[in-house]
């Protein structure tokens, strides 16, 4: 009976190759692998042809699914190699690390909690390497996972982290600190946290990963396991002054697992674990001590499954502590048959060529030479990624950094999304989503891509609804693309940006509390949120989302809450804020074929309330308040135009007219409303009103505010109405000097908003106003002009009620001239 311990570097392609060779030479009859034993029933899935790495084992607690941990596997991960080897040779394989049930069972509010994070952290940090050195990548798995990664990805998605315990956050937050290194801590402290870094430093390298590349990855031929074990032994002897409790537990568990295997009668046992653990597993420790160490460990109920993973998540850049800076490069090292340097640079050249950069084979030849010369200069056995990057920059990219970034993203990290077979255990929600993805032919991918849906096609409509429903569940697989074309093409077209992130699986598991299908869960969530919602705007947003997601059964609940709140809410401004999204929703409803009956009732009620409350809202306002109200009025005005319901529009205009006539309203407001009403054709006496507004009885400041309101969106009115312009001109001319100074800034503000051509035209008009008016074209022959006028009039739809086309007068610009 023999037990051979293979100390590997997690995610190290060199380790993986060496391990494969070593296993083939050793021919074990049992393979034990560092990993959570709960996954044993799932291990057979690794042999499934539909299982493509990168994938991860996901463990989550049943009581609080957001407490989760991941064990990622890429194609070049040694553990994966071990698994595949075991399957290929029909050998039993087992995971022997401390069960996830224990690692995830940090007591929520126990007094010992302050201590617990320390041990959890200890387990993660005592392993060799920390985030940038290989053998430790397993470390963080014990205690972190989804939690530390979501903290650092998009802010909106960070909810899992918010709900996680301090233990996890502390452990997650530790990673950046490790890279930075703390100047004040002793060498031993650092050696405990990052032993490989210390070894690398001793060997004269600044970067532990490069050092490891040197001694292991690039010397694939040597049998490294003995050497690694020796190095770790020395290092552990030197540093292990106070071992961490969690680490002792893990190693005790592993030893127990090995003992059990021996008892079961296996003859040749291969143990695959992180290099750091090798000395501990080889050590002779009495079984009774291990049993004592493991006594009374807290446990919680956990479930495990496989989830697809991405290379981006493996890379350091994503913030996840897995710490492989260059998964694409590692995969290349693992998969390339021979001449990795030449192959890599040729691939780089092809990539650059695809992007239209002129890169020839001569470039590649020179790049290879440079990379090799650099490696020699730096005293490395073979050119590594650093040298290749330098050579690529200096030769292939001709010194430019931009193409280099492309290579980094596409090749060094090499975005890839794994997949898991259908028989993988999933929560019902995941299954439902999978079924819908199949049905709607919407495949998840890690690389963001754009998709346009035509909502008139049933399949696209369903896709859009699915994405909207997922958004309700915080699974932001798709996000609406913010581009202008989206809007201009009308409401039936939606453009989405789709990108799948592995943490969505966790969110789906979390969302399991809401229901068993995406549809049900989203509906339940909307209803629950509606019941909790505080303000009107919140509710209207919910209503909009419910409509977009096609959650008809959730709508009545939202609507009734909305109606209740609207009645109770006395603040007209808030009601005005609530209206636009509802009207938008109403229109979406038309496009999407959702019944909007209840929504219409609410909108009707809102319009009436707004019209009634408007005079009160507009009374005695200061400048800022007037400006705020004005914005709302403008939005409501536009919204009602969009709604196009004559009774509502009429009621609204009546309310505005009443407001304009009330003497107490603010100048700005009055001016603006005058303009709105004039544009709506409701004001026959604009010159008179203007004359009143600019007459000496009105304080100049109010006049200026009035003018600002009137001319807020363009000077066209003044350009085309000489009478108004004349009025304005004479008012301005008659202002006394000191008042003029006071009013000037206000006027300037108004006219500064106009476009330069408008201002130029205005100036030209004023010039004509000052000069004697050009003599009217006396020789105008109405009879000869009549056919032209008639033709033009046939183009222009005339509103009933507008004055009949009279004879052409010089005051009215002839229709032909109007732009």
């Amino acid at each position: 009976m023999t037990v051979e311990v293979f100390g590997i570097r997690h995610h190290g392609p060199g380790s993986a190759r060496a391990l494969r060779r070593a296993l083939e030479a050793y021919r074990p009859d049992l393979v034990l692998i560092e990993g959570p034993p709960e996954a044993d029933p799932l291990l057979h899935l690794a042999a499934d042809p539909a299982m493509t790495p990168p994938v991860a084992l996901l463990a989550y607690t049943l009581t609080a699914p957001q407490r989760a941990a991941f064990w990622p596997f890429a194609s070049f991960t040694p553990e994966w190699t071990a698994l595949r080897y075991a399957h290929a040779h029909r050998l039993p394989a087992r995971f022997i690390d401390l069960p996830a049930a224990c690692t995830l069972a940090a007591p929520p509010e126990a007094p010992g909690e302050q201590h617990e994070p320390e041990t959890a952290k200890g387990a993660s940090t005592k392993e060799p390497g920390g985030s940038d050195a290989g053998p430790s990548e397993r470390a963080r798995r014990a205690s972190l996972g989804a939690t530390d990664e979501t903290t650092q990805t998009d802010g909106g998605a960070g909810n899992a982290a918010e709900r996680s315990t301090p233990a996890e956050r502390a452990a997650g937050g530790r990673q950046p600190g490790e890279e930075a290194g703390r100047p004040d801590e002793g060498l031993w402290e650092r050696a405990r946290r990052d032993p490989l870094g210390v070894l690398a430093e001793a060997a004269g390298h600044a970067d532990a990963e490069r050092w490891w590349d040197d001694v292991v990855e690039l010397r694939g031929q040597e049998d490294v396991f003995g050497v690694v074990a020796e190095a770790m032994e020395v290092l552990r002897e030197e540093t292990e002054r106070a071992g961490s409790e969690r680490e002792e537990q893990r190693e005790a568990w592993m030893r127990q697992a090995v003992r059990r295997a021996v008892r079961e009668g296996f003859e040749r046992i291969a143990v695959v674990c992180g290099a750091w653990h090798v000395p501990a597993l080889r050590a002779k420790v009495p079984a009774s001590r291990d049993a004592a160490t493991l006594k009374g460990l807290p446990k919680t109920k956990v479930a495990m499954t496989w989830v697809p993973w991405t290379h981006g998540r493996l890379a350091r850049e994503s913030g996840y502590g897995a710490g492989v800076r260059s998964p694409g490069w590692y995969r290349h090292l693992f998969e390339a048959a021979d001449r990795p340097v030449e192959r890599w640079l040729t691939e780089s050249a092809r990539l650059l060529r695809e992007e239209g950069l002129p890169v020839s084979s001569a470039h590649v030849i020179e790049a290879v030479r440079l990379a090799e010369a650099l490696a020699a200069l730096r005293g490395r056995p073979l050119a590594g990624l650093d040298e290749l990057t330098e050579a690529t920059r200096a030769v292939l990219c001709e010194g430019a950094d931009l193409p280099l970034e492309l290579i980094r993203r596409r090749m060094v990290v090499g975005e890839a999304l794994g997949s898991v077979p259908d028989s993988t255990p999933m929560v019902p929600l995941q299954r439902d989503l999978l079924a819908q993805q199949k049905r709607l032919r919407l495949k998840p991918s890690a690389e963001p891509r754009q998709d346009a849906f035509d909502l008139r096609r049933p399949v696209d409509l369903e896709r859009s609804r699915l994405l909207h429903r997922l958004r309700v569940l915080d699974v932001a697989w798709g996000s609406p693309a913010a581009d202008a074309s989206n809007r201009s093409q009308g409401t039936f077209k939606e453009v989405w940006v789709l990108a799948w992130h592995p943490e969505f699986d966790v969110r789906l598991i979390e969302a399991g509390v809401w229901g068993t299908t995406v549809h049900d869960a989203a509906a339940a969530r909307i209803q629950a949120e509606a019941a909790d919602a505080r303000g009107l705007p919140e509710l209207t947003v919910l209503a909009e989302r419910a409509l977009l997601a096609g959650l008809d059964e959730a709508l009545p609940a939202v609507m009734s809450t909305l109606a209740d709140r609207a009645t109770a809410d006395g603040d007209t401004v808030r009601l005005m804020e609530a209206l636009p999204p509802l009207v938008r929703a109403l229109r979406y409803g038309d496009v999407r074929g959702t019944p909007t009956g209840p929504l219409r009732t609410v909108v009707d009620g809102l319009v009436v309330r707004i019209c009634l409350g408007l005079p009160r809202a507009a009374a005695s306002l200061d400048d800022d308040a007037a400006r705020t109200l004005l914005e709302r009025v403008a939005t409501v005005h536009e919204t009602l135009a969009l709604l196009d319901e004559p009774p509502h529009t009429a009621r609204w205009l009546d309310a505005l007219a009443a407001l304009t006539d009330s003497p107490a309203s603010h100048g700005l407001l009055e001016g603006r409303l005058t303009r709105l009403l004039h544009d709506a054709g409701r004001l026959p006496d604009l010159p008179a009103r203007m004359s009143r507004a600019v007459s000496p009885g009105t304080p100049p400041a109010r006049t200026a505010a009035w003018l600002e309101g009137l001319l807020a969106d363009g000077a066209l009115l003044l350009i085309h109405d000489a009478a108004l312009l004349a009025l304005l001109d004479s008012w301005l001319a008659a202002l006394p000097a000191e008042t003029f100074t006071a009013v000037l800034p206000l006027l300037r503000r108004t006219f500064a908003t106009h476009t330069p051509p408008e201002r130029r035209t205005l100036a030209a008009r004023l010039h004509h106003l000052a000069a004697p008016a050009p003599p009217p074209p006396e020789d105008l022959d109405p009879a000869r002009a009549a056919p032209a006028v008639a033709t033009v009039l046939s183009f222009l739809p005339l509103r009933p009620g507008s004055p009949p086309p009279g004879p052409l007068t010089p005051r009215e610009p002839p229709a032909e001239e109007t732009p």
Partner: protein, 368 residues
Amino acid sequence: MTDGTPDAATGVLRPHAEQEYAGELARLAELDERPRPPGWRLSPWAVTTYLLGGELPDGTAVTPKYVGPRRLIEVAVATLATDRALLLLGVPGTAKTWVSEHLAAAVSGDSTLLVQGTAGTPEEAIRYGWDYARLLAEGPSEKALVPGPLMRAMRRGAVARVEELTRIPSDVQDALITILSEKTLPVPELDTEVQARRGFTVIATANDRDRGVNELSSALRRRFNTVVLPVPASLEDEVDIVSRRVARLGRALELPAPSAGLEEIRRVVTVLRELRSGRTEDGRTRLKTPSGTLSTAEAISVVTGGLALAAHFGDGVLRPADLAAGLQGTVVQDPVSDRVVWQEYLETVVRDRPGWRDFYRACRETLP
């Protein structure tokens, strides 16, 4: 042209790199046990050490010639070791010429095989010319041929330098292509050619962000490995570079050595860095940027000028007043727009900065 003896160098205004650092180069060559590429005076490792500084096994300290990322120099040396041509790119004042001179001095012990690129550089400067008197008298012959620096470098297997490559007209630039790819220079008049000996290569410097440059053709471009030299990353780096260079220059110019206060150097570097980057070092205030390039080289010349002023007219200590005029002259290149930039900078940043009161006053006084 070059008399390589140190004695001849003492009288000149600016000795060549191989003269000024002859001692260091000799020690390096003596202690260098690594393999040297054919035609090289030093091994690539020793060249790297010469440029980046370090300590030799016998305790000789090698001064750093270039302060900046190590990898840039490594790439440059590796490029030369693969007999490829090297193109140093960067904005003015990023030590392109400096690096190229020292590389040439370390690799071939001779930095004088130089073609200075201008808009009027003729093809003869790159290839060869003729001694016309002899040509007329004797007809084309080997004796009538006047070899250019590149031709001489090819014959000797040395490093040739081309300064300001992008200023050379495009058709003249193309004369380099054959030299770089075939490593031969045909002389059709004599029906011969010059074949480069091993060790020959070219270091070119170019400025890619300037007016009036001739883009390199891609055929020429791909004969070069490109290294982009950045402006110094941090204030400390730049202060370090300036004080080191100023000390050397002061010695070379035999100024009555007033000590350049680190404080004043830091001040000059800070001013130029801030105006160059368009915001203050603390990142709080946005600034207008003047039209000139305010590189490290400018900082060096301002401080050296200030030192001369202090030595000859002042009390021997570098004071703000000695620097103000030089600084203003550097910043205000365009008398109208740059003046506004400078005044604005003085009023908004310098005036309220604690400890900068003297400096502010001195600058105000020099403002006309």
